[in-house]
Every structure is written in structure tokens, then in C-alpha cells.
């Protein structure tokens, strides 16, 4: 079935109106319709966090959200974090701390971290571990990731 529904939403600060295929996930819609390919598909069942985006400011697994559920909501992807060509401080901290190797998990990691710092500017190690509990890194850069988030906190 390829039924489409018109949806209105905000993506990275811009208001948009698009047709969304009812059978598509938000993940597929972001990559194939909005052409924002920072978001990645890993497991497709909500366990790895490579597809994390911010929906109304909260990190969610976009593989477990339907495209049509975006209607009326505000979406932020990794492409929306930098402002006027300047990286968000979490992005810069990930570079400074070499907090990735292959980079596949990085967009989801950074968005989960951004949301954490927005709700808790000075997170403890336990807060960081909880916030990133759904973000897996197969390269095992967890120590560096935690370091990058700590370095970008409290500002």
C-alpha cells in the first residue's frame, strides 16, 4: 500500500509540508525524502541507537516511529546542530576527544548527549550512562565519548 498523508512539521528549525508514505518509518522518511543522511539504520528494532533523532527535543529511535507520526512535531537531526557554520560544542568535543572510530553511531550519540545537556547541564557519569543506554558503539569508544560529554558540560 502506498497511501500518502500530508504532514506538517519543523525540521532543524524550518517549517515543512510533505507527503509521507503511511508504511514508512520516520528513519526512512528522513533519509529518502528529506535527504538528511546523517541518521543511520543499524538494527531497525530500537536496540542500537544509530537512528536516534530529537522529536520535540527528546531522543527517540526513528526506526520505531512512523513517518506520519511526525505531523505537528519538531524534528532535529545531526544536520541541525551546527549554527552559522559553527559546530555545536558537543560535536567539537567529540572531535577533540577522538570520540569515534568508524563514526556510524556518532550522530545518535551526539543527539542523545545534546538532549542530556539540555535537560541537565552538569551530568554525572551515571547520568551520561543512562542517557546513552540506547546508543551502542561497536568500535568501543565509550570512554572517549563519556570524556567528550563531560568536557562539553557545564557551559
Amino acid at each position: 500500500m502506498s497511501e500518502k498523508i500530508t504532514i506538517n512539521f519543523t525540521v532543524n528549525g524550518e517549517k515543512e509540508q510533505r507527503e509521507a508514505v503511511v508504511g514508512h518509518t520516520l528513519l526512512r522518511f528522513i533519509r529518502n525524502e528529506l535527504h538528511l543522511t546523517g541518521v543511520k539504520e543499524g538494527c531497525g528494532i530500537g536496540e542500537c541507537g544509530a537512528c536516534v533523532v530529537l522529536l520535540d527535543g527528546k531522543p527517540v529511535n526513528s526506526c520505531l516511529v512512523l513517518a506520519v507520526e511526525l505531523d505537528g512535531r519538531e524534528l532535529v537531526t545531526i544536520e541541525g546542530l551546527s549554527k552559522n557554520g559553527e559546530l555545536d560544542r558537543v560535536q567539537q568535543a567529540f572531535i577533540d576527544h577522538a570520540a569515534f572510530q568508524c563514526g556510524y553511531c556518532t550522530p545518535g550519540m551526539i543527539l542523545s548527549a545534546r538532549a542530556l545537556l539540555d535537560r541537565k547541564p552538569n551530568p554525572t557519569d551515571a547520568d551520561i550512562d543512562e542517557a546513552l543506554s540506547g546508543n551502542l558503539c561497536r568500535c568501543g569508544a565509550y570512554q572517549e565519548i563519556r570524556g567528550a560529554i563531560k568536557a562539553s558540560s557545564g557551559k
Binding site: E3, I5, I45, G46, V65
Partner: protein, 276 residues
Amino acid sequence: MLSYDYIKCTDLRNVFQELEEGQQVYPLAGGTDLIVGMRGGKFAPKTLLDIKDIPEFNVLEENDQGITIGAAVTLNEATTFAPIRDNVPVLAEGCHSVGSYAIRNRATVAGNICNASPAADTAAPLYCLDAVVNIVGSDGTRSVPIREFFTGPGKNALNKGELVQSILIPRPYPEGKGVYFKASRTGSVDLATVGVAVQRWGAQVRIAIGAVAATPVRALSVEKAVNEKGQKDWTEAARLVHDDISPITDLRGSREYRYHMVEVLVRRGLEQTMGV
């Protein structure tokens, strides 16, 4: 690509016609179990009925009766709701044990019980708190105790055309500490191999356990020994839990391992809530 119709309902009155007349109509709230199940072929809905923006389902409040958790309230919203944290922290622990932070931003408390997994992390705390499930249908509302809501693996007490409207944590709240222990293969983002909730009520204790039978169960043998017979040896008391459970072997653990872990966790729970 998945194939289904999508209908968004924002008025409770319009829900029941769709539910009763449609074929294979599935309510969609958080979707975290539903969408995974659709991908895996477990569920094949013809219609998804998005109910998460119905105002009645978004209630999260405390009043004279207790705490009401609407059907669309997410696990993170419940975990951080002050009356839950302050009065029934055992439930906050259970909610917090489900999935990951991002999952809990979508998944709902009501969805956790409607999915009716015997391993549902909110179930054991809700059993200890004698939660009440408020059900709504075209004929009106009815309420069932949480212990009657779970009827088997993946099966609940809802009839066709009915939905959970909310879950009530009734007053009086427990006096004393409550804990939820979860044994799982990984530290987070895994289903419970076993889940044990132990809640003190003054001099009494209530214990409920998940993933050890077709539904969550109360450890009534242990409760009786402690509450009625005055058993103070927690090791002896915990041993009685074998009479209350009938675990199976599956990919998360063997039957024998479950018996062992439940006994250990019940003893630990008694120590931490009732004193060493």
C-alpha cells in the same frame, strides 16, 4: 515496506467505532513493541489507530484516590513524575528498567502491561501496589485489578473494542521501602531473566515476580511466612518462593537458574526493605 491504514484519533468518542467495526485494528501509542512486532511478523494490523493524542489518555495526576497514569504516558514521564518518585519509587524503578532512555521516551506504561509479557518490568511493582487498570469501551468504563489484567503470555483482560484508559496507583501508599531487582543478560536494554519487586507496608511485605510463570505472580508463600507466621530469617523465607513460581527454560536463562536467582533476589529484597 509495511502495509496498513493509519488513522489518527484525537477524540475518544470516535475510537470505538473503528475498533469494533474494523478488522485487525491495533491501537498505536508508543509503538515500540508494535512496530518491532510488525517487522518480525508477529503482528499484522490492517489498521493502526493512533491514540496517543487523545486528551483522556494523557492524564498524569495525583488526587484523593491516588496516582492516575494515562494510557499515553511514557515510561520516562512516569519515572520523573514527582508523586511516583516520592510515594511509590518501586514503580519508578520498574519503569526505568525498560529498554533504553530513547525507548522510554516513546514506550508507555499502559503498553508495557497491554503487551502482557510475563517479563514486563512495570508488572511486578504494579502487582505489589495493587494497581487498578481502568478500561474504556463503547459501553462505558470498568476497572480490573492488575492481577486479573494479565491472563497469559501476550494475553490480557481486554475485550474486542476496549482500551486501557489509565492505571491507578491507589492510596494508601505503602509505608516503607520498596525495591525492584532485575536479573538480565546485559546491564541495560534487555528483557528481564527474572524481575523481583519487594515492597514493605509497615510491618508487612508484598512480593511480586516477573518472568517465572505465564503471568507475573505474587510470592504468597513468602508473604504468608513473613506476614502471618513471623518468619524473620530471610534466607528461610526466600526459600519458600519455589512454591510460588514455575519458570521455564528459554534463551534468557534456564529453569534452574531462574529458581536460584529468584530466591537470591527475594532474600536480598527482604534484607533491604525489612531490615537485616
